[in-house]
Amino acid sequence: MGFEFMYGAYSVAWVVIFSYMLILGKRHSKLKKEIEFLKQLEK
């Protein structure tokens, strides 16, 4: 009883958490690329 609500709520919660972690990951890779570019520029 009420399994569809439970699965729905937990799915939404995990999707939101992982999306935020993905956003953080993208920020990190963008910074890494920028640092690599600056290093190349130094050379």
Binding site: G2, F5, G8, A9, L24, L31, E34, L38
Partner: protein, 253 residues
């Protein structure tokens, strides 16, 4: 090459060393988050008793309440660091306030989405205009506005000051959200702990209480992981920007 650029270059190389240290800390926090989340899921789905009337849908409660707790804690951290920023004017305080507000907004989204799912199963409606729901929605919009201030064009210092004032004033809504069901008559949100004007604290069954506390602990660890990660990226970003600025200045000379 100017002395300034040399210094910034050293800082940029220092970023990589700092990043290594930060990665170690991140790994520890990530491991702790994964373990605590798995333990919390065990307590929620296996250890805690199933509620007789609502059945499985009652288990939404653990993530819903924990997300609300995390959001409140995040906004409190924003409040504290906003005050510290206005007093000391150090950029790191502003960074902590900003990242914490961002995390708070993310978890308010979880509160505002899992809440209606609970409402549909329990009250047979997705949304009711009752004090706690309204004040939570206002809280969400306040911090969305806070983030929008941060995205504005303009001088960093001005934006940070404005955001800090917003972060301090916005926090006033947090106790209102918490006490809403105690101050105003409401038949929807039950008071689990303590007593209120509408009903007496219903209390919570022993195993459910344990599951709730384990879940709260897991979310607190998740918060520290996200905060640490977010702040370290912001610090890195700042160093890269400073270096680029100096490089530009040096090239113009």
């Amino acid at each position: 090459m100017s002395m300034n650029l040399e210094r910034e270059k050293a800082v940029l190389h220092g970023t990589q060393v700092a990043e290594k240290k930060s990665i170690d800390m991140s790994k520890i926090l990530f491991g702790a988050t994964v373990i605590s989340m798995l333990v919390a899921l065990y307590f929620i789905f296996i250890f805690a008793a199933e509620e007789v009337t609502m059945g499985a849908a009652q288990k939404i409660f653990y993530f819903h309440v924990s997300s609300a707790w995390l959001a409140f804690m995040a906004f409190f951290v924003t409040f504290v660091f906003s005050i510290l920023f206005l007093v000391k004017r150090k950029r790191i305080f502003d960074t902590y306030a900003y990242i914490s507000a961002e995390i708070g907004v993310v978890f308010t989204i979880i509160v505002l989405t899992t809440g209606p799912i609970w409402a549909k199963s329990s009250w047979n409606t997705w949304w009711v205009w009752e004090p706690r729901l309204i004040t939570t929605l206002i809280l969400f919009f306040i911090y969305i506005a806070y983030i929008m201030i941060r995205q504005m064009d303009g001088v960093w210092d001005k934006k940070a000051r404005l955001a800090a004032v917003f972060g301090i004033i916005g926090f006033a809504d947090v106790p209102i959200v918490f006490f809403a069901i105690r101050w105003w008559q409401t038949k929807f949100h039950p008071i689990v702990f303590g007593e209120g004007p509408s009903q007496k604290g219903g209390g919570i069954e022993g195993t459910m209480l344990v599951a709730l506390f384990v879940s709260l602990a897991a979310f607190t660890i998740l918060y520290s992981y996200l905060l640490h990660k977010g702040v370290s990226f912001e610090k890195m970003k700042l160093k890269v920007e400073r270096y680029k600025e100096k490089l530009r200045e040096d090239l113009e000379k």
